[in-house]
Every structure is written in C-alpha cells, then in structure tokens.
Symmetry: C2
Subunit: 197 residues, 2 copies
DNA sequence: AAAAATGTGGCAGTCACTGCCACGACCTCT
DNA sequence: AGAGGTCGTGGCAGTGACTGCCACATTTTT
C-alpha cells in the first residue's frame, strides 16, 4: 500500500470519528458538514469525496458489515441454510468489532428520520441482493417469491437481533440472540397470518 | 365539513397529482418543488405546509394505506393470525384502489435513492408499530423477539406481494399472491438459517 | 357586520450537495 | 535523483430543498 492510500485511509477514519464525536455532542441536525470538515482539518469539498452524503457518515459501518459478509455466500459451498447462518454470523461478528459505533448508529437512527431512512434502505438493498443470490444458488431454482422470503428471513433475524442487542444496551450477546431467533423460527413459534374460515 | 377543509382537500389532491405527472414526465430529480407548486397554482411555501418533504409527495399513498389498516387490529377481536390476515388484506385492498399510483411509487423508488429510503423507512416504522401492538394483544404476552418477528412476517408478506405485483406489471392479483406467500410460510417451504454440525 | 381564527405566500436565510478549476503532493519511469 | 504524469485537495460559485417570519386574505364565529 502506497503512502497515498495510507493517508487517505487515515483521513477517512478521522473524518468518520470526528463526525460521530460531533453528532454525539451537538446532535445530528445541529452539526454541519463544515464543522465536521473543520474538525478533521479538511475542506468540505474533500469530505464529500469520501462521504457523498451526510447520512453516509453514519451508516457506513453497518453497510460494510452487511455487504462484506454477503460475499461469503459464494465462498462456502455448504447447503443454503448453513451458508445463510454463516453470513448472518459474520455480519454480527463484524458488528461486534465496534459495539459503540453500532450503538451510536442506532441512537442517531432513533432521533433523525433521514438517517433511519438511509439505514432502512441499506437493509432493503442487502435483502434484494441476497434474494438474487439465493435465486441463483439453489438447485433447482426456486420461485422468485421463495427467494425473496428467504432473504427477508435473513434480514429479519439480523434486524431483530441487533435491535434486541441495542435495547439491552449492549449487555446481551449477539450470537446467543441470533440462535434464539433462529430457534423461534425453526420451531414455528411465530404466528403466521391465516385466513379465517 | 366546512368550505375551508374542502378546499384544502382539493388543493392537497391537486398538488399530489401534478407532482406525479411531472415526476413521470421529467423524472424525480429534474422536477423542482417550484415547478410542482406552479403547476398546482400555489406558492412553494404553501406546498410545504401540505407535504413537509419532497419524498412525502411520493410515498404518502403507500403510507396511509399501511397505517389506516393498522387500526383494524384493535377493531377485530379475532385470534391474532386471523387479525393479521385481515390487516394485510386491507392494506392490499386499499392499494388496489389506485394501482397506477402504487406502480408509480415503486417506479420512482427504483430510480431515486432518497425516495426508496423514505419508503423503506415507512415500512420500518409500520413494522415497529405492529410489533408493539402484537406485544400488547397477545395473552400471555410473548417475548419481545417473538412480537418483532411476527410483525416482520407481516411486512415481509406485504413487501413480497407488492414487489411481485409490480414485477408482473400489475397483471397479477395481489390477493392471490398474498395467499401464495402465506402458504409458503405456513408449510415451512422457506429455508431458515441453521447451524451446521 | 365586526372580530377572531386560520390558510396563503412572499422574502430572506441556512445548509446539503455539485461542477469546475487551479494547485500541489505522490508516484512512475528513466 | 529528477522530470513528467497522475490524482487527491480545496476554493468558489451555484442549485435546490427546506424554514422562520410576517403581512395579507379568506373563512368562520359572535
């Protein structure tokens, strides 16, 4: 890695850290891009080259945690349920790397609508990608709806686990929570909508 | 209803219609609030009183379709699975009221990131509300995770059905699609993540 | 008909975000 | 090591979403 890349990686990290610092201190809305840029000692124009939108500053960690793990789906030639479990476990493992940041992200998502929207969008896109992968991976190929619901289950587990973890203020263990959620699913303990007679 | 309310309802509808017209014609991004306001013959400042953000113009119909149906959950004293089915059926029924608009919303969500994000956020909030309701409705009260997953299932069905309907270009029948999705769920035809041995 | 309530819209201002361009730091090739 | 090419940096001007404020007009109430 050249010096250039190194500096850029450092700058990126610095901007991100300063941003979270200011968000926690003054709130998301009350913090301007100019302030963040000043705190990181870069020009606003430069900041925008690293983070195209203000919300990106917040959700980037969650986004990369999700999408990095998605590539594991090709890597493991295991049967689908096991591969899905691996993907989910890896997402949660990477998130556990920086619990404070995950907590901060959800804190900000709770107080700011556009952050929450961007976060929701990342989950949406991830689910769509996963659905597409599932469709190609299964043999014989399932109907589109089956693939969509499979991907939905995966993101449901992740969302539910992370939310429960956030509600426990980081006390709970994500892996344990995930197993709990999957057990509930597998045992059919979740009420499914049914037609009345 | 007084004259004032009537006029406002008309203005609201007019703004919304003109907005969709312009979005379809020039694209979401290339259409400015000023243009929409001019087309609806109101001041921009007035438009903002009806629709606080540009995205609201797009997602309002879906939003009200979802949240109006949510109140049915209290109304029907049926067992939960049946009540959930009623809620879902009502959401889809109201959406079928104006298929062109639903199609337009998803068209715009596909091309514009912030619209998609706001749409995703609406679904997120709806799910959260439903989870809360489920928690209070069931006797004995389920653990939070069960409630969350139950609500997630409901929104999964709606999302999957609407997406499939959109992909069919409106040819399919939402009610039929919903029954298909629920059958898949009930019969355990969806691969659930599992720990490998 | 007068008075109170409330929707309308213009104006100025903030802030996220972009295209453009000159500058300078890094990298490559000899 | 030095010359030239590459590429990140950041300033400037501009667009457009959105807001607070205030005067005006229309509707509603008394």
């Amino acid at each position: 890695m050249g010096l250039r890349e190194l500096k850029m990686a450092r700058t990126r990290r610095l901007i991100s850290d300063k941003a979270f610092e200011l968000f926690a201190c003054n709130g998301y809305h009350r913090t301007t891009i100019e302030q963040i840029a000043a705190a990181a000692e870069v020009g606003p124009r430069t900041l925008y080259r690293y983070f195209p939108t203000k919300e990106t500053l917040v959700i980037e960690f969650v986004q990369t945690s999700l999408f990095d793990a998605l590539s594991d789906l090709h890597a493991t030639p295991a049967p689908l349920p096991v591969a899905l479990n691996t993907v989910i476990a890896n997402v949660l493992r990477v998130m556990s790397t920086d619990p404070a940041r995950v907590m901060a992200v959800y804190e900000l998502a709770g107080t700011n609508a556009s952050v929450r929207a961007q976060l929701a969008d990342v989950l949406w896109q991830w689910r769509d990608n996963l659905a597409h992968e599932v469709e190609q991976l299964l043999d014989p190929p399932p109907c589109r709806m089956t693939a969509a619901l499979t991907a939905a289950f995966a993101i449901n587990i992740i969302e539910t686990v992370v939310l429960a973890w956030v509600e426990s203020r980081g006390q709970a263990d994500m892996h344990t929570l995930a197993n709990h959620a999957m057990t509930l699913l597998r045992n059919g303990n979740i009420p499914v909508p049914t037609e009345g007679q």
